[in-house]
Amino acid sequence: MAGEQTAGPAGSKAKVFNCTNCGAPLRVQALGQTLVVACASCASVIDAQDERHQVLSKGARLQAMPLIPIGTRGQFRGHLWEVIGYMVRYDKASDYDWREYLLFNPRQGFRWLTEADGHWSYVVPVHTKGQVLGDTATSLNQSYKLFHKGTAIVSQVIGEFYWRVKTGDAVQVQDFIRPPEVLSVEKTTDEQTWSLSTYVEPSEIATAFKVTQTMPWRKGVAPNQPGYTPEAHMRLWGYAGLFFFALLIIHLMTSPIRGTKAVYQYTNFLMPGEAIVPIVSEPFTLVGSPRVLSVRMEADVDNSWLAAELTLFDTKTGKGFEFEHGVEYYRGYEGGEHWSEGSQVREFSISSVPAGTYTLTMLPKTDTLTKPISYTITVKSGGVIWSNFFLGLLLLAVPPLVAMWRRHRQEKKRWSQSDFAPAVYQEDE
């Protein structure tokens, strides 16, 4: 069936002929543009333009069929594309390989889909040459960082191509990244070709081309895999800064205007030999919204301790809040040096104490007394709860710090595959 024309996608015609080497049917979709067709059955590369369809070269048979078969059509990025060619290439230095699918649309021309380690990119030719300066390339006012330099060699090829490709073809490649994009330049002795790749989620490929097989699992981080961009990171810290000021203003606006106010104070002595009895305070009244009550105990303990069982009792509701409070202070000399431990002053807070009239019952406790101990218990109401503010600050700092750590980890993984990693992302030796 040499030279028959059949219908292709709207506006195109296809040509069908038999492989000159093995007789397998071959189809040319991009009439007038396709130069060669590589036979999937015998891996021969056939001249598509010459009516004699001579064999130009022979290569190795495919070890695995392409995930998206030749001839598959899919609606992708706003246009109908047909997969007309498939190529496997590898890096000469590392033997690392990747797969490339040539897409054709009669009006849009040629595009590529590439897949490596389960990561996909959509490749568009760039007609304006980029500018390379050191480790940076610039194209259309965007800068890209050098990620890879090497030699790409064709190992397998099937389908039609718009240049005379054959297995063993080698090009010098440089890849510059600016996730989610890669700016690539391929050089031969005769020409230089620039292209721009954009990362594509595997699910988009599978949906567009109705891939029924399981998509390859993604390994590692692709050079152009999108992550948390520096711009998004700066915005996050900007938001954190704005929240810091908002938190400060909200904290001051919702805190009591006046500072703490002493509502009750009691001073007494504990004498050696005297029985210790519970003490009930005079009633004191708290007004307004619930607030923090702080109970401060001071005692002139010296190498001893004083504790008190305390109950804050609401005279109207009958509710009581029981707690224990104490101070201990020890000191001495060891090796000629003075040491001390503990404090003669301690403060204890009770949150959300509602308005009401209260009494405080106190029962002091201590070891056997050898000398008198004087103590003072002070109850204060209100005051700014700074611990709430600092807790809020800490909570607001966590997401940006987590984002910073995750971004660093991802970038380190990304650049672990490159010989041109910035110092901050280089592997620890």
């Binding site: 908002a246 938190l247 919702t254 029981e322 707690f323 224990e324 709430n388 503010f389």
Partner: protein, 50 residues
């Protein structure tokens, strides 16, 4: 939803939480400590009816 958008919601939540705690006199950290009774065991906390 992006991480930044989630953070905006989270930040508003933190500010609202701090405002709520302040208005209710609630010291989220350090309020109503527990002290161990010298006789052994923790002191029972919380309001109860007498």
């Amino acid at each position: 939803m992006t991480f930044n958008k989630l953070f905006l919601i989270f930040g508003l939540g933190v500010c609202g939480f701090v405002a709520y705690a302040n208005l209710n006199g609630w010291a989220v950290v350090g309020g109503s400590d527990t002290r161990y009774n010298r006789a052994g065991g923790p002191v029972v906390r919380g309001f109860y009816h007498k």
